[in-house]
């Protein structure tokens, strides 16, 4: 019983504070990359939240969700990186075109 | 080598089945037990590499964990204290690792240890660009990686 309470009153708040901190950075940005990393981080901390929660409620089922989170959270990072690259290329092509026109 | 490993696992399962205790400790115990057994029964029959790698692998894991912990503490210190002591920079690290797997593992391990971040591998796979937080001497840094992670990793993989 003590463990559950320890986790509940000590660990969960620490994690919660971490989540909030990360979210602060998400709000602050400044670049999209920071936001994407924040998102990734939030999910990863979410995994720990779920893990602790599953201990507190003695429901190991929740770890399954953590598993899925761990597996596919990564994909949104991949997607956003892809976006950033593509967008960057597009910008550069546009710049080049304009430069060529200037010449 | 793969066969050995598989046999090892198989034996572990047999052990667990026999004992009927499905606890983690029992698996671990079964694994060690069957490793020893296999070491004994295949001793001197040529393909002893497997038995050399496993201890190295275990050693590597501990090395990795130690590095992880050590550098985490370093960063932690930097993070909690008001001023930063960082001297960051992106460094070009020439690679001895050749195969995709080698390079990827190396890069990932470098990233996972604090203070360093593998940014990219050159297209000709000769150079790894690493972002480092505490960069005092470039050559020292490169040597650390080459003699530490890369060497140990390649020992295991090759």
């Amino acid at each position: 019983m003590i463990i559950e309470e320890y986790l509940y009153y000590i660990i969960l708040p620490i994690l919660a504070v971490s989540v909030l901190l990360v979210f602060c950075r998400f709000v602050m940005g400044p670049s999209i990359a920071d936001r994407v990393v924040a998102l990734d981080l939030l999910i990863t901390i979410g995994i720990t939240l779920i893990a602790i929660y599953s201990i507190v409620y003695d429901q190991s089922t929740f770890l399954d969700i953590a598993m899925i989170l761990g597996l596919i959270a990564f994909l949104s990072t991949v997607a956003f990186s892809y976006y950033l690259e593509k967008r960057n290329r597009k910008k550069r092509e546009k710049q080049q075109r304009e430069e060529q026109q200037d010449e | 080598m793969k066969n050995r490993f598989l046999s090892n696992i198989l034996l572990t399962f047999i052990w667990v089945a026999i004992t009927g205790s499905f606890e983690f400790a029992n698996y671990l115990f079964g694994f060690i037990l069957s490793f020893i057994i296999m070491y004994v029964i295949t001793k001197g029959r040529g393909s002893a590499k497997y038995f050399k790698i496993v201890p190295k692998l275990i050693g590597f894991i501990f090395f990795f964990l130690w590095e992880l912990l050590k550098a985490n503490l370093q960063v932690a210190y930097d993070v909690v204290t008001p001023t930063f002591y960082m001297t960051p920079g992106i460094v070009r690290v020439p690679l001895d690792a050749e195969t995709n797997l080698e390079i990827t593992l190396l890069a990932n391990l470098i990233t996972l240890t604090p203070g360093t971040l593998s940014l990219d591998v050159s297209d000709d796979r000769k150079v790894l660009y690493v972002h480092a937080m505490y960069l005092k001497d470039k050559q020292d840094f490169i040597d650390d990686i080459k003699n530490g992670f890369e060497k140990r990793l390649l020992e295991i993989l090759r």
């Binding site: 708040p13 939030l42 929660y53 994909l75 | -």
Partner: protein, 771 residues
């Protein structure tokens, strides 16, 4: 009788399919045999009817609605049937010559046949609903007849106007009939007569009266709905002859006549009819003075005659009904003649402009005879039947108890003007000098001049021998009103009475007027100045205003702006919800039933709220998308906390995929601009907050209600034992509610196909239309 009616329809259908062959060439006269045989059929009934018999037939049609095809043949309907078929025969025959060589003669006959059948059905129906059915069919067929020259804009407009006015009347008739039905419990007029008291004492009496009047006045072109009739003169002359003088326009008269015994003898009924009839007859008779188109003259005089009929029915005495009955016959005979005459003139001389026409007797004597005879009958000069008719009118007005003198005076004025109209149309073209340009006018075809002559002569035969009509038709007609008929004696000569004096006065004034006032363009232009005040233009303006309003209303609501649509819908929803939810409810929520709040919940909720804020206020599209992702993941965590692992997994996977989709699409889009201004944002914000607030209140209220967990208990009990699964959510998905899932995967498949088609299918210009 049903067969009699159906004959026309069947014939029409035949014409539509093989028409060209039937009516082309020499067989063109054939169609006339149809009305002729029907005429003979109806003539056979004269004897029975004059013996006070009534023929009644009922066929079941829609018993569930109490609607039957029941037909009655009594004096009134016999008169109309004879007119419809008799004049119909002549018109059919006349048409074969008039429209000879017209490409669409088959169509024309088809319409005429439909019209004739419908008109027969109308006058024979005893059931008010079936009467309405035929009433509408006459409107539709007349639409086609008026618009026969369909390439002419004026024709189309007139057809449209006529249909609009008579269509409105028809709907009023339907409503009136249905009210009568709901009062009396039957739609059969003969049965209704037995419940006369119910009607008179009903709360609906006024309503029914107004509805019936609306129907009759529109159909019979009473002021202020009269203007469609002059417009309808755009139709070929046979149509004007048949529909717009002899038959269709009299349908309203027929209706009033028919319903008088049922609804008449009240102040409302009689006064309204008298006044409307009076206004109509005087107003339009006056208008005859200002027309130069022969048909225009005749149209206004027809309206005036219809006004006289309404007026007479409104008087509601035995004498006035007698006068009305006779006048129907009189008018049919002379007006049909005059129209046909006009048609011949138009057909041969190529114009109907009365100011140009004269002396045509030299080239078409029989036509001139018909015209002059008809004009005489029209003017009420003895020994024509017109004289009899006019006398009866004066007798009807003179013997009134109230305002006899005044009404008689109006009748005289009307008659004077009408007789003027008759001279203008029936005499003026034929007398005087034949202008040069008409010297080469050819003598008309036999079938063009014979029908009018026949009709005109008939007017004199009946004038000389009025007893021919007395027992056979006139008495039975009056009989249908339920009044005493024993004292009716039609005579040409009554001796020297005041009425005779009035007749003489009328004839004299009419002739005088004709000699003094010649129709001219000036007069026509003079009256045109008052067009703005005419009911026609007033109603046209109203219609125009209505159309403009329609455009305004439609484009206001259908503005093209999606956000307006959404706003209106949500506004509608929240005003209704707000009205019911906040109105008088005591807002009571049992907070004690709510679970305690924990730190991590607060953190997740905070993040949820903040991420929503970020989405709403994001400056970049990608930031909005990332924030949406965070929102989704927070909700996913909520699902974890509240025991929904399956949900959490699915939501998480789907959110990730959605992010990927967005990312794949986004970088192709243009800049993410904030396009709305400050005011708009405030407005939308208020609307949104109101919406969200109501949803929150609703949720809280529902949460305070007791729970019924019968169904989930069943699942909990049986999920493993009967459905062999322990994850109840999954068992529900694949078993208890598997049908949902089957549909759901179909939805997914469809959307994938849709996406595939949307992106891969680009129609090339060739493909766009070619098959």
């Amino acid at each position: 009788m049903l067969i009699a009616i159906l004959t026309g329809f069947v014939f029409a259908i035949l014409l539509f399919f093989g028409g060209k062959n039937i009516v082309s060439g020499k067989l063109a006269l054939l169609p006339a045999l149809i009305p002729l045989s029907l005429f003979i059929y109806f003539v056979r009934f004269i004897k029975d009817i004059s013996n006070n018999e009534i023929v009644h037939k009922t066929y079941e049609w829609i018993p569930s609605l109490g609607i039957n095809l029941s037909f009655t043949l009594d004096g009134l309907s016999l008169l109309f049937s004879l007119m419809i078929t008799g004049i119909g025969t002549l018109v059919f025959a006349y048409t074969s010559a008039y429209l000879k060589g017209n490409n669409y003669l088959d169509r024309f006959y088809g319409y005429l046949a439909v019209f004739m059948a419908a008109m027969l059905g109308l006058v024979l129906s005893d059931n008010l609903i079936s009467l309405f059915v035929f009433w509408e069919l006459t409107s539709i067929s007349s639409f086609f007849l008026i618009g026969f020259n369909n390439t002419s804009l004026a024709s189309r407009k007139s057809a449209f106007t006529a249909l609009g006015i008579t269509g409105l009347g028809g709907l009023l008739l339907l409503a009136g009939g249905l009210v009568l039905g709901s009062i009396t419990g039957t739609y059969d007029i003969s049965e209704m007569l037995q419940h006369k008291d119910l009607i008179a004492n009903s709360d609906y009496y006024l309503l029914v009266g107004c509805l019936i009047f609306g129907a009759a006045f529109t159909k019979s072109a009473q002021f202020p709905f009269h203007f469609w009739l002059p417009g309808a003169m755009k139709a070929p002359t046979p149509v004007s002859t048949y529909l717009h003088s002899a038959t269709m326009v009299k349908a309203g008269i027929y209706l009033l006549f028919r319903l008088s015994p049922l609804m008449g003898s009240t102040n409302f009924w009689n006064t309204t009819l008298t006044i409307v009839g009076l206004i109509t007859m005087v107003y339009s008779a006056f208008h005859c003075l200002f027309r130069t188109d022969m048909k225009g003259v005749l149209a206004y005089s027809t309206i005036s005659a219809l006004g006289i009929l309404v007026f007479l029915i409104g008087l509601g005495t035995q004498e006035s009904f007698l006068a009305a009955g006779v006048f129907i016959i009189v008018h049919a005979l002379y007006k049909a003649t005059l129209f046909m005459v006009t048609g011949v003139v138009d057909h041969q001389a190529g114009t109907r402009d009365i100011t140009q026409l004269s002396g045509l007797r030299k080239v078409m004597l029989p036509v001139a005879i018909a015209g002059i005879l008809a004009a005489i009958s029209n003017a009420g000069i003895p020994p024509s039947i017109g004289f009899v008719g006019k006398d009866l009118i004066y007798e009807g007005t003179l013997h009134l108890e109230n305002s006899a003198i005044l009404l008689t005076a109006f009748a005289i004025i009307t008659n004077v003007l009408i007789s003027y109209a008759g001279y203008v149309a029936g005499v003026k073209p034929f007398v005087g000098k034949l202008p040069e340009k008409f010297e080469k006018v050819k003598f008309p075809h036999f079938l063009l001049w014979f029908p009018p002559v026949l009709l005109a002569v008939a007017g004199f035969v009946f004038g000389v021998f009025p007893f021919l009509l007395q027992d056979s038709l006139v008495k039975p007609i009056v009989q249908t009103t339920g009044l005493n008929t024993s004292e009716i004696h039609l005579k040409l000569w009554h001796g020297f009475t005041p009425v005779l004096g009035l007749s003489a006065l009328t004839i004299g004034s009419g002739l005088l007027l004709y000699f003094l006032l010649k129709p001219s363009k000036k007069l026509e232009q003079f009256i045109a100045k008052f067009d703005k005040l005419s009911p026609k233009s007033i109603i046209e303006n109203v219609v125009l205003g209505f159309t403009n309003f329609s455009g305004f209303w439609t484009s206001t609501f259908q503005s093209g702006y999606l956000r307006n649509y959404i706003s209106i819908i949500v506004l509608f929803l929240i005003s209704l919800m707000g009205f019911t939810l906040l109105d008088g409810t005591t807002y009571k929520v049992d907070y004690s039933s709510f679970a305690r709040i924990t730190v991590y919940e607060v953190v997740i909720l905070t993040i949820l709220v903040l991420s929503i804020g970020l989405i709403v206020f994001a400056k970049s599209r990608l930031a909005a998308v990332v924030s949406t992702g965070i929102m989704g993941y927070s909700i996913c965590l909520l699902f974890v906390f509240y025991s929904a692992p399956d949900l959490a997994m699915t939501q998480f996977a789907i959110d990730t995929l959605t992010v990927i989709l967005f990312v794949l699409v986004l970088y192709k889009l243009p800049k993410y601009l904030n396009l709305s201004d400050y005011k708009m944002r405030i407005r939308d914000g208020i609307l949104s907050i109101a919406f969200g607030g109501l949803i929150s209140i609703l949720a809280l209220e529902v949460l305070a209600q007791p729970v019924n967990s019968e169904i989930s208990d069943f699942y909990a009990k049986n999920s493993y034992l009967l459905a062999h699964g322990k994850n109840v959510v999954n068992v529900i998905l694949v078993d208890f509610r598997g049908a949902d899932t089957m549909v759901e995967i179909s939805v997914l498949a469809i959307s994938a196909i849709g996406v595939f088609g949307l992106l891969k299918l680009r129609l090339k210009s060739v493909e766009r239309f070619q098959k």
